[in-house]
Assembly symmetry: C2
Homo-oligomer: 243 residues x 2
DNA sequence: CCATTATCTTTACATCGTAAAGATCAAATA
DNA sequence: TATTTGATCTTTACGATGTAAAGATAATGG
């Protein structure tokens, strides 16, 4: 913070004339009370506007640039406006993470639907998982590496839960057994934990640049996706697995 | 930040008489220049003292409590003293992460040495990995989930590199082939990435509490370590692996 | 013995999260 | 329809943080 960033309060007035386009475009059925109609006091759909602004700030300035005040600036409102809608920085981050989980789930679902062969269907989900994280690293960071999330918020809880359920079902389908809701065998649990850990760990290491070493030692141009595929399909040798 | 924390500047003078024990004990060959000898201007070994203070703060107040000023308070020096030794918050975090990696490597090495059977030796490293993270979650967080690390610092780079090398060698030994320094086959890379991703991902999910669901559906009292073991040893069924 | 340098403190400033009070508007109510 | 009420947004304020800059102090080397 405070990294000699000279785009403080002056930025808003210099860059944008304080929310005029969004006002004219996005607010529905607003009668012209005052003839001037500039910078109306009430936004109309500030909550969604703030979430979209947060996503923009996240993609532009990264996780460390995602502050309440920056989001308010991006949306063209006062720095205390987000508090009313999200209560807290944790609140904003949690709602943003919920948005991310919904995007994430949708991406995986559509990717699975598009697959035709069984092998493709089995690989579609992990590939889409990693692809989403690569396309939206900031969002993935919010969802999976932020301590400041409040999972008691229903929206976040539901979206994250759906993500887990989708994974567990996929594993169950792959093992050709249905997984009952309340109990698991150790082998079932191990299969789920293995799949999730593998994909999640791979993604984290990839985003942190910790796989560059490995990728650099592979034939020229080997992509992370190719390595993931090999990871998931290559025969497991060595003393650890299988007799 | 600013979470109604009423232990501000008053804490230091109230809690500790401003570094008297450390002064008398740790500073070597200090002539009694001024007869009083209270709160000497120069600490003598502040760098190490700050790192130890940082570790204490981290374990006590968590990652969000680990600030430059809090570390300075804990060490009983002015809030700007750390800057001179670490330059930056990134600098302090990076050096602390290096300390963590060294502890981490030592823990895994000693655990491997203690193992007797081949199976135990193969499981020793991942178990020690997870055990370290469980015992020092803050430290593990600094090492693996902080964006603010400067890997151009030699100490951090070396310690982290040693961690990776140890893992790669272990995989190589398990596959009964030696891994040459500069090139890898796709299967070798896949084996390394799989092992690292699995253990790292498992640890992250475990620390984030995302495995509680799974653990809760297993027989009463099944530990994370047991699940890890099953993950690493249970036969892999389903369409994905094997012919 | 003195000058230089390293170490630590003081002071200052921009930014951040958040609380509290004031302003403005939409909608319910009388 | 006029008025009140509640939701929404702004202003103001405060403590905390990272960091820069200048001053104070002690160790070191000439």
């Amino acid at each position: 913070m405070a990294k000699t960033d000279t785009k403080g309060e002056t930025a808003r007035s210099a860059r944008a004339p304080r929310r005029t386009k969004a006002t004219a475009a996005s607010r529905p059925a607003r009668r012209a009370a005052s003839a001037k109609a500039e910078t109306p006091y009430h936004h109309g759909a500030l909550r969604e506007a703030l979430l979209q602004a947060a996503e923009r700030v996240l993609e532009r300035d990264g996780l460390s640039g995602l502050t309440l005040r920056a989001v308010a600036r991006e949306a063209g409102v006062s720095h205390a406006a987000p508090t009313h809608h999200f209560g807290d920085l944790t609140g904003l981050l949690s709602e943003l993470a919920a948005v991310g989980f919904r995007q994430f789930n949708a991406a995986m679902a559509s990717s699975c639907d598009a697959a035709t062969t069984p092998l493709a269907r089995a690989l579609a989900r992990p590939k889409a998982y990693v692809a989403y994280a690569q396309a939206h690293p900031g969002m993935y960071g919010i969802m999976f590496r932020t301590e400041r999330l409040d999972y008691s918020r229903p929206s976040l809880n539901e979206a994250a839960e759906a993500s887990f359920a989708g994974l567990a079902n996929a594993i169950g389908a792959m093992r050709q057994e249905q997984i009952s809701g309340d109990t698991l065998t150790l082998n079932q649990a191990a299969a789920i934990a293995r799949a999730w850990s593998m994909v999640h760990g791979f993604t984290m290491l990839l985003l942190d640049g910790r796989l560059e070493d490995i990728l650099g030692r592979l034939p020229e141009g080997t992509t992370a996706e190719r390595l993931l595929e090999a990871m998931l399909t290559a025969p497991v040798t060595g003393k650890l697995s299988g007799p």
